[in-house]
């Protein structure tokens, strides 16, 4: 009998059933896909780290290394299992030609390292996750360039200098456990050792990665202390296994979390819908429920009658969602599969997504049961006598008609209805808030990350042009040469050089640790400080947010650093946000020391009438070793991949959100009009035309939409901004403020919703025409 009732109910409410099915299926699909990504990411990363035998500690060093000294250290250190020194030949982008053309130019922020395959650990893998093995004349190119330059196997790369040329063929692409993600500004090209020697003899600068594999990863901190206090080569950043994991997992990890959050949103909506439908049905069948109770049918059986449909529907939709995720989750894992590769299928990969789908199903069930509890309060006498549920909270005094407010009657009635029975419109309101939030937050974040102001979260002063000089033997000469040119250049309005050097700092435990400090005059170009201001005197320092947090130093506190083997007490004058260099940087007005310099930077502003791009071009030609970028380019190169992913995500969100809006608005209006049938028929009988009623229902929908958009926008700009800020604070920017494009956020997005909702409402309210007193009576 229950089955027959369900069948009839489904036939009667086809549209409703389809919409609810779609929501539950979508939430099950996303929950399953989200967990699938997390499990697959974990498995794949483990596989990649195992296969490539990832190093536990890597110290980059620009300068000579004493192999014997390092080997002795490794042999005598109890934590070290293996040690290797990897030579990285840095070749400038201007010397590298892909298929005959030089597209990298001087503007590429990436460091191009040419290496040979390592012997036993830190192995460079190909797309099949096999260890790359090359012959002479062959090259394996980082995946980043495969995507950026659309390279294919068999393409040619030419490395040339005046009088020297080497042509190599791409035979593989590199999956590099250390340098895979685009946020890592170094990439490794693998060549044959003979080719590397040939290159070394003709161009490039050698740097070294001193790599260690420990017996037990748990000893990493102890080992780091040992290394840092042993006065070993350390002209460059030190990175470790944990950071590799974070860097590799961050892009896809964020995607997984976002998918998961969207899934939760959709579950919320599905639950709200079911609640709304159940309550509306209860209202409609109030008398019938009373009769059933009077006939002696148990409450449980009545609940079964009304709830069974949703249990079956949810179960079926969850199964379909799970099966769909098995086929389509590749859509989300494409990027991961390319960069990290796939791991062998594990049991957890099958079971965890299934559990997540079951949780979705159980959640819906729980809420269904909770709503059905309302049936407990219906008594037979009550239902049969009154016949209707008394709607609570109707406030007839709100916008009373007789107060003669200067509104059009339809608008007045629509406003009054929305306000006086807001509970009814709550579902739609919440959905519109969610939809606005889902679009506005990523749109605002995209605009923020693309805006030149984002530079303030990178600890970089805002200037027209930025010139970077990387470590080399002639870095000091290059720097002086460049400074001379800038000083003589009349087009330059103002400039400020800075040198980033390695120092040591005494940390909270009293140990020395490496500390990167940018030295220069930081008052020339503005940088927004979270607290305090730029360092001015020689004993003043500004810390990045993460450094300030880790060292537990705030403005006014003292910090001891070691300069030329002497301790110097500095006063913290400012704290700024910085997501570069792992978020750990510092700025001080110390004198330049070329001996400890890691890299040089020059920020400059040109005069108003000067074309920035032409100036960038001019300086690029002046000194090939310098990376000259304008602000926009710097951001695009750093966040290019993130921006692309974000754009894709926004497109995906817009499609989903619009579908959601269409479905919910249709469902809601259909239910509302059915519920308000008598009211509509009565109003038509006293002279309201069907067009008048349609206008009223469309107006009601648009009023709720406007409220939803306002609410959604406010929440996006407060809670949404806070959420993004919390995420970014892990990277070094704790107080991110959205840079809002008012046209996008306040015109295009609301307009998009208005158009979609108006169209949907226009179609949905057409059923009003059929509602007359005659049809209601029959």
């Amino acid at each position: 009998m229950l089955f027959n009732m369900m069948k009839k109910d489904v036939q009667k409410n086809k549209m409703l059933t389809i919409i609810l099915f779609t929501f539950i299926m979508l939430s099950a699909f996303l929950a399953s896909s989200g967990t699938n990504i997390i499990v697959e990411l974990t498995n794949s990363m483990n596989a990649l780290f195992t296969k490539s035998n990832a190093p536990h500690f890597v110290q980059m060093h620009a300068g000579e290394v004493n192999e014997v000294e390092l080997t002795n250290f490794a042999n005598n250190n109890p934590f070290v299992k293996e040690e290797q020194i990897v030579e990285l030949l840095q070749i400038d982008g201007t010397n590298i030609y892909f298929n005959g053309s030089n597209r990298l130019g001087n503007n590429s922020l990436m460091d191009h390292y040419f290496v040979v395959q390592n012997r036993s650990f830190d192995l460079l893998l190909n797309l099949e996750s096999e260890v790359i093995d090359l012959s002479k004349g062959e090259i394996a190119v980082p995946l980043y360039f495969k995507q950026q330059e659309n390279l294919e196997l068999g393409d040619t790369i030419t490395i040339s200098n005046q009088g020297f040329q080497l042509d190599v063929t791409i035979v593989d692409f590199v999956r590099d456990v250390q340098m895979n993600p685009s946020i890592v500004h170094s990439k490794r090209f693998v060549v044959h050792h003979e080719d590397l020697n040939l290159l070394k003899a003709n161009l490039g600068e050698s740097e070294y990665a001193i790599e260690f594999l420990l017996t037990d990863l748990k000893d990493l901190d102890a080992f780091r202390n040992d290394y840092q206090s042993a006065s070993l080569p350390a002209k460059g950043p030190a990175i470790d296994y944990h950071l590799f994991k974070v860097l590799n997992g961050i892009t896809d990890g964020i995607v997984a979390v976002v998918i998961f959050l969207v899934s939760i949103f959709i579950i919320m909506i599905a639950v709200l819908c079911i609640r709304y439908v159940l309550l509306a049905t209860m209202e409609e069948d109030f008398k019938e429920i009373g009769v059933l109770k009077a006939l002696g049918i148990s409450l449980l059986d009545i609940k079964k009658m009304y709830g069974m449909k949703y249990i079956v529907l949810s179960a079926f939709a969850s199964i379909v969602g799970y099966v769909a995720s098995l086929f389509f989750h590749r859509l989300f894992t494409k990027n991961m599969m390319l960069y990290i590769g796939t791991a062998p299928k594990s049991f957890s990969l099958q079971i965890v997504p299934l559990i997540s789908v079951m949780i979705v199903f159980l959640l819906i069930m729980c809420f269904c049961m909770l709503t059905l509890r309302k049936f407990n309060h219906i008594t037979a006498v009550n239902a049969l006598r009154s016949g209707t549920v008394r709607e609570a909270g109707r406030r007839q005094n709100i916008l009373a008609l007789h107060n003669r407010l200067p509104f059009n009657i339809h608008f007045h009635l629509a406003c009054k209805d929305v306000l006086s029975r807001f509970n009814t419109y709550c579902l739609l309101f919440v959905v519109f808030i969610i939809c606005t939030f889902l679009i506005i937050v990523p749109v605002n974040f995209l605009h923020t990350i693309q805006s030149p102001n984002f530079i303030q979260y990178m600890g970089v002063e805002k200037s027209d042009i930025r010139i970077d000089l990387q470590q080399s033997d002639h870095i000091a000469q290059d720097f002086n040469h460049l400074m001379e040119k800038i000083e003589q250049d009349e087009d330059v309005d103002k400039f400020s050089p800075s040198v980033t050097s390695q120092f040591k700092v005494i940390n909270n435990e009293g140990n020395e640790e490496n500390f990167v400090i940018e030295t220069g005059d930081f008052t020339v170009f503005p940088l927004e400080y979270l607290h305090g201001h730029a360092p001015k005197g020689e004993n003043e320092i500004a810390l990045s947010y993460l450094n300030s947090k880790e060292l537990e130093k705030n403005v006014g506190d003292e910090l001891t650093i070691i300069i030329d083997n002497r301790e110097k007490t500095m006063i913290v004058r400012g704290v700024y946000q910085d997501v570069t260099n792992g978020g750990r940087t510092a700025k001080a007005a110390l004198p330049f020391n070329n001996n400890t310099a890691l890299w040089y930077e020059i920020s400059l502003n040109v005069k108003h009438h000067i074309n920035i791009s032409e100036k960038v071009e001019e300086y690029s030609k002046t000194l090939h070793a310098a990376k000259v970028t304008d602000l926009q380019n710097y951001l695009v190169q750093t966040f290019g991949n993130t921006i692309e992913q974000l754009k894709l995500f926004i497109l995906f969100t817009i499609i989903i959100t619009i579908l959601l809006t269409i479905l919910i608005t249709t469902l809601f209006l259909k239910m509302l009009i059915a519920k308000d049938g008598t009211r509509i028929a009565m109003m038509r009988s006293i002279g309201f035309s069907s067009k008048n009623m349609k206008v009223q229902y469309m107006t009601k929908t648009l009023i709720v939409l406007s409220m939803g958009i306002v609410g959604g926008t406010v929440i996006s700009n407060t809670i949404g901004q806070g959420l993004v800020s919390v995420l970014l604070s892990f990277m070094g920017a704790s107080k991110m403020k959205f840079v809002i494009d008012p046209v996008q956020a306040y015109v295009i997005v609301p307009l998009l919703f208005m158009i979609v909702v108006s169209t949907v409402a226009f179609v949905s309210v057409s059923s009003i025409k059929k509602l007359t007193i005659v049809t209601m009576n029959s």
Binding site: R394, I409, G687, I773
Partner: protein, 255 residues
Amino acid sequence: MGIILQAKQLNKTYCLGKDNHLQVLNNVNVVIERGEFISVMGPSGSGKSTFLYNISGMDKISSGSVTFNGQEIADLAEKELSSLRLNKMGFVFQQPHLLPNLSILDNIILSAYLAKQSSRQTINEKAIDLMKKIGIAELAHHDITQASGGQLQRVAICRALINQPKMIFGDEPTGALNSQSAMEVMEILANINELGTTILLVTHDVKIAAKTDRVLYMLDGSIIGEKRIGKYIKRHKDLKMREKILSGWLTEKGF
């Protein structure tokens, strides 16, 4: 006096499925003069309510013609029909069908605000005036849940009257009321009729029909007879007499 409403050869058929048609009204002819107070009686399923909805333009006729105030309503578009209902007709149903989120006064002025025949200030005053006449002025700012069934039906009558309609249609307007409230409502309707408004109502109750000028009797979708009993004079004996005459006539018809 002149004719306000005339139905000629009025038919109404409902399609219940393929080759399954139900004829509810069968060649109905009726002429209603201005100022008349008419009731329609007949057993359940005889087509009384369908007749009322078809002659008032609430439902589309299948064939025949209905003229209201000299205008053929079968030809009117939905918008024109709405305007007709708004300005020239008033409706009172068995249930008051008031909007629950409006106060009693707001329910009454609602259609007048839509019709815009006069200023909102004047409409408010007129509504209060009307409520005073009908004896519910004290309920003006009350919620509809704070009034009794009889009071709500009076509110519905006020609503029907607010735009000064030419004719009021009532579909068992006293059907859900107790006998005392029903009589009070009928007194009100009789008073309105005395002021010149034509009234046609459908009822099962002889006592109610006895207060009208003319009774139409319907059976199987046709008007099979009518009884003119003249204007009701407010005397107890007179009403008893009218009821007796009417009962006798209805018995003849098989009611």
